[in-house]
């Protein structure tokens, strides 16, 4: 089973251009909030109408602007797990699940509800209303209701945003088990790299309404390739850069430095990044060194974070962040000379 998406939609000043393909194995749609992830899901489900493009699921065209095809959500067989689950508040758990059963007789419907309640550990809760359930039970009810409708794809919109983080760790493996048993397409929307990494073998990074090519999740942290992906993987220091053709070094004007990088420059690249834990104090005469003023020393749970302003950069330039583990010597003084090691420099688009 495969889902192909290639859509565009303009919403006021926001422009969405989403293009990806997913085959069975869960695909994470990863991006910061407001980047258009939910809107993309809504286009697939038929809740929002793209301006242009094409959506094909399991060989069936769900939407095609050129051919004037736009199936209503009822006929798409796409399950949507909403952030707040969207359970019908006036119905019991059993009635909510039964509402998802399409065109079954009374007896069959009853049997199906019982099966799904057993599968999602909702036995004994069938007579309760959604507001009497815990967050996890609500999520399982919503999943049971989706599975009852026999979808060909399940779209998860930030499935854990409504839950406390300690609950998340408890519920995530359960959700993963349910999805592993599901034969259709799974699209998992999140802004949390770790959540996506644990649950999805494939990833499509989204930034300001645009999707990057789908790639294997495992390679994303070490090689984020774009500024957006680098930020999502926790790389806090990114600066615009350009190649100096005569030396082959990379000029980063906002840090006032030219850098030597181990990784080769690519066409289309426009920035470099370096993780905060990779910065260290420079030895005398070392390359890739930047003189900085120490703006602030912030104590975090397990480390100190130094906020550094590279010499000569304006007040609007983002500060460099340098992480020093607690127990290591905290550099003293108002100015520091730090080095950005060549092997740790990420080349970003």
């Amino acid at each position: 089973m495969a889902l192909e998406v290639d859509v565009e939609k303009t919403y006021g000043s926001f422009h969405l251009e989403a293009s990806f393909r997913s085959e069975g194995e869960p695909l994470a749609l990863l991006g910061p909030s407001g980047c258009g992830k939910s809107l993309t899901l809504k286009c697939i489900a038929g809740i929002e109408r793209p301006d242009r493009g094409r959506i094909v699921l399991d060989g069936q065209v769900l939407f095609d602007s050129a051919a004037h095809i736009d199936l209503p959500p009822q006929r798409r067989r796409v399950g949507y797990l909403f952030q707040q689950y969207a359970l019908f508040p006036h119905m019991t758990v059993a009635e909510n699940i039964a509402a998802g059963c399409r065109g079954l007789g009374r007896e069959e419907r009853k049997k199906r509800v019982a099966e799904l309640a057993a599968m999602l550990r909702l036995e004994g809760l069938e007579g309760l209303r959604p507001r009497q359930l815990s967050g996890g039970q609500q999520q399982r009810t919503a999943l049971a209701r989706i599975l009852a409708s026999e979808p060909r794809a399940i779209l998860l919109d930030e499935p854990f945003s409504a839950l406390d983080s300690h609950l998340k760790w408890q519920l995530e493996p359960e959700l993963k088990d349910v999805l592993d048993a599901f034969a259709g397409v799974t699209i998992w929307v999140t802004h949390d790299l770790e959540e996506a990494y644990r649950n999805c073998p494939w990833v499509c990074v989204m930034e300001a309404g645009r999707t990057a090519p789908v790639r294997e999740m495992a390679s994303l942290p070490a090689d984020p390739r774009t500024v957006g992906a680098a930020r999502l993987t926790g790389c806090r220091n990114c600066g615009a850069a350009e190649l100096e053709t005569e030396t082959g070094w990379l000029r980063v004007p906002e840090w006032g430095v030219s850098l030597r990088a181990a990784a080769p420059w690519r066409t289309g690249a426009r920035a470099v990044g370096i993780r905060e834990e990779c910065l260290r104090l420079a030895a005398a005469g070392e390359d890739n060194a930047v003189d900085c003023a120490v703006v602030r020393r912030v104590e975090d749970v397990s480390a100190w974070v130094l906020l550094l302003r590279p010499k000569g950069s304006g007040p609007e330039t983002p500060l460099l962040r340098m992480k020093v583990e607690k127990g290591a010597a905290l550099p003293e003084g108002d100015t520091l000379r730090v080095v950005l090691p060549p092997e740790d420099i990420l080349i970003l688009e």
Partner: protein, 226 residues
């Protein structure tokens, strides 16, 4: 004591409430979804009868429905019946005056409805009719019921526009409110007072019903999200 005014008031209020219920929900549903300009304009037009003096509403209705006026004349020619001075003429007045109460309350309920419930219903394959009657209406029932009860109460108490369009004919068009005025005007103070008590009793019961609805519908603080 002749109970006709009570019977007449109740049937007028009941019939108008049924009409207002459907008209109000229809208007509320579509206007809640309308673009801002349309919404603002229609809102003013539809709420106007609530704030205008009932005599002004009555005057406007007579201008439309009177025997020699636009609609009144046409109906007379086509069906040979006049629209004013019958018992059911009062329904025009009560509908016009009580409609805004239903419309506004129902619109408020529809606007606070969580649209993701309707979207979820669609993705599950539920028809739009099912979603409207089995999800949207039950979820909004508090506002809709409150609007219906308020509209009924207002229709029951309507005097100004009713007296202009249906007049006061004992045993034919007399309602509680027009009877009270007539009895007081003719000096029958004792009987007038009895009708006043009847009216207060009915209104008190209606308001009690509204309060009980609100108390029962108040969402109990539950655990979980939201």
């Amino acid at each position: 004591m002749d109970w006709f005014p009570l019977y007449n008031s109740l049937r007028i209020a009941a019939i108008s409430t049924v009409i207002i219920f459907f008209l109000g929900i229809f208007a509320a549903y579509y206007i809640a979804k309308a673009p801002r300009l349309v919404k603002g304009t229609l809102d003013v037009v539809l709420t106007l009868p609530l704030v205008l003096p009932p005599t002004v509403v009555g005057y406007l209705l007579l201008r439309l429905l009177g025997p020699n006026r636009l609609i009144g004349q046409w109906v007379m020619e086509q069906f040979g019946t006049k629209l004013v001075m019958t018992w059911w003429s009062a329904i025009f007045a009560t509908v016009a005056v009580a409609f805004p109460l239903m419309y506004r309350t129902a619109r408020g309920a529809f606007e606070s409805f969580d649209e993701t419930l309707a979207q979820a219903g669609k993705t599950l394959g539920l028809s739009n009719t099912y979603i409207f009657w089995r999800i949207r209406m039950p979820v909004c029932r508090q506002g809709i019921l409150a609007g219906t009860v308020l509209a009924f109460a207002r229709a029951l108490g309507e005097y100004g526009a009713t007296s202009m369009i249906a007049g006061y004919t004992p045993g034919r068009t007399a309602t509680i409110s027009t009877t009270v005025y007539q009895l007081w005007r003719t000096g029958n103070d004792a009987l007038a007072f009895r009708w006043v008590l009847v009216n207060i009793a009915i209104s008190a019961v209606v308001l009690l019903a509204v309060n009980m609805l609100e108390r029962r519908e108040k969402p109990s603080p539950g655990k979980g999200v939201r």
